[in-house]
């Protein structure tokens, strides 16, 4: 087991923010100056202006994404982006597979999670791009078909009006205390728990899950809903995602985010579909999202920022992160399957 873990790239969250600031500088693209940063992109911009609109699949509500696209269009007014909201889980992969087999193709670019990215690339539907040729730092490009767009952080949230700071759950094991029985919520999907395995190890996560199930977590489809249920007092605590809890916090909801050590990290990637008709525009937009300017606009719209850039999330002090690298998505899938079954049955997987 130990060997297995060491094989994986365990991301150290504490270091990530600072590493991002140090290695990527304040931008994904070289730091020499604002104009220099975008200079390698000029040929792409010129070619993109002659293409059609870039159809971009992403999960944020279209209305929320418009300000981000407006910032892009301020810099590149001749490149149109058409954002299409995918309903999330699996929908994007399904769309891309279906579209790839029909004569009239659809989307050009997809921004999504590692498992979805893998789902598309493993079917040969993602375009390999030499991203570094456009000045993108190598640490943004784990694979040729993917460029890092943003990071999502799984966390624990609690109701601050009914749970004192002292009683609030701060570690994963805290959630297994009988006091939370029937009073805490969990997403109906097991990604946060599977994401703990690289740091905690499979055996320890198995044990943790067994204890957690004894507390009968209330399952909910969406982490947004969990945050709202926490704010209303229906739940006292829940496993959630940082950016889905933020809208409730911003509206004054009495909840607080805690990042246990380790916290499961989920990196989101942008990829270009192999059948894209507007490759230059798609490349330009994907790279722009990996700049300070683009990522700040994206973070403002979605709540998801990139650790390696000068974003709000890069300023948060975090414990260790735990994540499967994109190449090990098949291993992640096995863990998700096992813990999904436990969540669903409320106990052992078999």
């Amino acid at each position: 087991m130990k060997k297995q873990i060491s094989r994986r790239s365990v991301v150290q969250g504490i270091g990530l923010g600072t590493m991002g600031l140090m290695t990527g500088g304040l931008a994904g693209i070289p730091v020499a100056g604002a104009q220099d940063r975008f200079a390698p992109l000029e040929p792409l911009a010129k070619a993109a202006a002659k293409e059609g609109p870039v159809v971009w699949y992403e999960t944020t509500a279209a209305e929320l994404m418009q300000p981000c696209i407006a910032v892009f269009n301020k810099r590149y007014p001749n490149v149109k982006i058409e954002h299409v909201r995918a309903i999330g889980t699996g929908d994007m992969v399904a769309k891309v597979i279906q579209e790839s087999r029909a004569p009239d193709k659809g989307g050009d670019m997809v921004s999504t999670t590692a498992d979805q990215t893998w789902g598309i690339s493993s079917r040969g539907l993602a375009l390999d791009v030499n991203w570094t040729d456009y000045g993108v730092p190598a640490n943004f490009v784990p694979e040729k078909f993917a460029i890092i767009c943003s990071h999502s952080l799984f966390c624990v949230i609690h109701n601050t009006s009914q749970v004192s700071e002292a009683d609030a759950p701060k570690t994963w094991d805290d959630l297994t205390h009988p006091r939370w029985k029937g009073k805490f919520g969990s997403p109906a999907f097991s990604h946060p728990y599977a994401g703990l395995v690289p740091v905690m190890g499979e055996a320890r996560v198995d044990e943790f899950m067994k204890k957690l199930m004894l507390n009968e977590p209330i399952l909910t489809k969406s982490t947004y809903t969990l945050a709202q249920q926490c704010a209303s007092g229906e739940l006292l605590a829940a496993v959630g995602l940082n950016w889905t809890a933020m809208p409730t916090i911003q509206k004054g909801g009495p909840i607080k985010i805690v990042y246990p050590d380790p916290y499961p990290l989920s990196t989101n990637y942008s990829l270009i579909t192999k059948y894209s008709k507007n490759v230059n525009g798609a490349k330009l937009f994907a790279i722009w999202l990996a700049t300070d300017e683009g990522n700040q606009a994206y973070e403002k719209a979605t709540g998801r920022g990139n650790f390696f850039l000068n974003t709000e999330i890069a300023k948060v002090k975090l414990p260790r992160a735990s994540e499967y690298p994109i190449r090990e998505v098949p291993e992640l899938a096995k863990m998700i399957e096992k813990y999904n079954t436990m969540l669903r049955r409320g106990g052992a997987p078999n």
Partner: protein, 588 residues
């Protein structure tokens, strides 16, 4: 206007000899009608069904995959959780259907056949829950009856001095209760026309013979309504079998999985990141088989349909039962339903729409009241186009369903041939196709046909909804045609009127109320439908339901509630206006 007869004799199913002798052009007309129906229904129904079945045998569950496999059937049907899922589905379906049909039948009888005060007013109000998106209805009940801070639970504790919350909505009982409330309007619409047009002479004869009203209701009225009630049972059973919103919102939190949530689970929680479409299709095939069995059962129940004819060539004047002092009790029953199905959830949605985040209904939280969510709607640049798209889609789809369902209903009832029976089943099965599969099938079909460029437009939604809601339209129109004696049409033809004139002057006016009911039902359901709208969502076809989803899934359920409140208000006004208009026309 029309017409009455005591239905003592069974009319023959086939055309009379006189008519048959002059039926040359008519047969040609029927042949053309058959060909047209075959093309339209074949395209709308057979294509997605064929793709559903094909997908279930394809390697990754996409119709375009290379190779075939039985793996999805093995995986889906050997899943150790499936037994429990099927048991839960059966319990949920049976009890929701029984409860909804019992309440809906009682309400239809009270409103249409008795003299309860306010019947006209109730007729419009009872169908308001139809305007409520089920996701919001289920969420409203979760806010009312959740076991920790449910507002209604709090109120009951306070009123009765209880020490703990009396109800837990996250249970099978809660699911059945909310689902039944949500489908009662459909039952009501399916039955109210039948009750309204039922010949009262049998009941009057029984009453004259000294039978009690209860005995008359049980032994005369209910048997007379059997085709309509069985039609409602068959339809509601399938709706409950495939519905997702209520079990997804109220069952999943406590791990009560039914078939629809199992499908959602396979769609959304697939460990590989790709939905398990093959298994979803394999389960979809099971639902289709269940549905076909139900449809066959329904056909056998209504084989002797002639005995249920209640509108024939002689005039009758429907006279309501006089309930005497019980009439207020009757109104009380309707009001109790309205309190549970309309006032409580709508009140909760209004409250939620005035909160910055979901907060229980308490005096302290009154300080949080804000109109910001409603203001946010006006600031949303997509709101106008979403409303426009929704209205256009709903108008066209509901009109298309009424036309197709009217023709199909007439053919199925009047031509009791094998072809008609197949048509009956074909118009019913789209209901069994999970929304996501229907979406995927249509995506594939229209991406493959670039000369029909409707992918990503409102037209693909219109095709989807026309197909899906044809099931309801066909069932409801059949109920209406079952009640019309064939001699009415024969009389028109014997008088020398053409088939077109006969139908436009005799048949249509007699079923117009039922057709209007179908139109309203489809319109309201299209306005609120979500699962297909999401899968078929493209650049140019945002509708109100996807806007609600945008807010809801974007962490803003309170603004989603605000959209829901305005949607309910708009649909209520529409339904009320339509009813008022109809009543005026009928009076005229």
């Amino acid at each position: 206007m029309a017409s009455v007869d005591v239905v003592g004799r069974a009319p023959s199913n086939g055309p009379s000899r006189d008519i048959r002798s002059r039926s040359g052009p008519r047969i040609r007309g029927m042949t053309v009608l058959w060909i047209l129906l075959s093309i339209v229904i074949g395209w709308l129904v057979i294509v997605p069904i064929a793709l559903l079945v094909l997908s279930s045998f394809k390697t990754e569950g996409f119709p375009t995959d290379a190779g075939y496999t039985l793996r999805h059937y093995v995986d889906a049907y050997t899943d150790p959780d499936l037994r429990e899922v099927l048991i839960n589905s059966a319990i949920f379906t049976i009890f929701s259907t029984l409860l909804a049909v019992a309440i809906g039948t009682a309400l239809a009888w009270l409103v249409e056949r008795t003299d309860i005060p306010g019947a006209r007013f109730f007729r419009a109000l009872i169908i308001i829950p139809m305007a409520t998106p089920p996701m919001l209805l289920a969420s409203a009940w979760a806010m009312l009856l959740n076991p920790r801070v449910g507002s209604l639970n709090y109120a009951l504790m306070w009123v009765f001095g209880l020490s703990e919350m009396p109800f837990n909505i996250y249970s099978m009982t809660g699911m059945v209760f909310v689902e039944a409330l949500s489908v009662v309007p459909t039952v009501f619409l399916m039955l109210s026309h039948a009750f309204r047009n039922a010949d009262p002479s049998h009941e009057e004869a029984a009453l004259t013979s000294g039978a009690s009203p209860w005995r008359v209701f049980w032994f005369i009225t209910i048997p007379m309504m059997r085709p309509a009630i069985l039609g409602a049972v068959a339809f509601i059973a399938i709706v409950c079998l495939v519905v997702f919103d209520v079990p997804g919102t109220l069952g999943m939190p406590s791990r009560i999985f039914v078939l629809s949530t199992q499908i959602y689970y396979l769609f959304g929680s697939s460990p590989t990141g790709v939905p398990a479409f093959g298994q979803i299709s394999a389960l979809g095939v099971l639902i289709v088989v269940c549905l076909i069995l139900l449809a066959l059962a329904y056909q056998s129940f209504t084989r002797m349909a002639a005995q249920f004819v209640t509108v024939s060539g002689k005039a009758f004047r429907p006279r309501p039962y006089e309930l005497g002092r019980w009439r207020w009790f009757g109104s009380g029953i309707v009001i109790a339903y309205l309190l549970l199905a309309v006032v409580a959830p709508l009140g909760m949605l209004v409250w939620a729409s005035l909160m910055p985040y979901l907060a229980p209904m308490t005096w302290e939280n009154l300080a949080l009241v804000t109109t910001a969510n409603h203001a946010a709607l006006l600031a949303n640049s997509k709101i106008l186009s979403a409303v426009f798209n929704s209205v256009v889609v709903a108008l066209i789809a509901s009109t298309a369903v009424v036309i197709l369902a009217g023709i199909c209903g007439w053919v199925i009832v009047r031509r009791r041939t094998i072809g008609a029976k197949i048509l009956d089943i074909l118009t019913f099965v789209p209901l069994a196709i999970p929304g996501v599969i229907m979406g995927i099938a249509l995506t594939f079909v229209y991406l493959s046909l670039p000369w029909i460029p409707i992918y990503g437009t409102i037209w693909i939604l219109i095709v989807a909804y026309t197909t899906f809601y044809l099931a309801y339209g066909s069932r409801a129109s059949q109920s209406a045609f079952f009640q019309l004696h064939k001699e009415l049409e024969e009389a028109g033809e014997m008088s020398g009127a053409s088939a077109l004139r006969t139908h436009s002057r005799i048949t249509l006016p007699l079923v117009s109320a039922a057709m209007l009911g179908i139109w309203i039902w489809v319109f309201a359901h299209v306005m609120r439908e979500l699962s297909m709208a999401l899968v078929l969502h493209g650049r140019y076809n945002t509708v109100v339901s996807t806007l609600i989803w945008d807010y809801w899934s974007g962490g803003d359920p309170t603004t989603a509630s605000a959209v829901g409140v305005w949607l309910i208000i708009a649909l209520t006004v529409l339904i009320g206006a339509t009813f008022a208009l109809t009543r005026r026309n009928v009076s005229a």
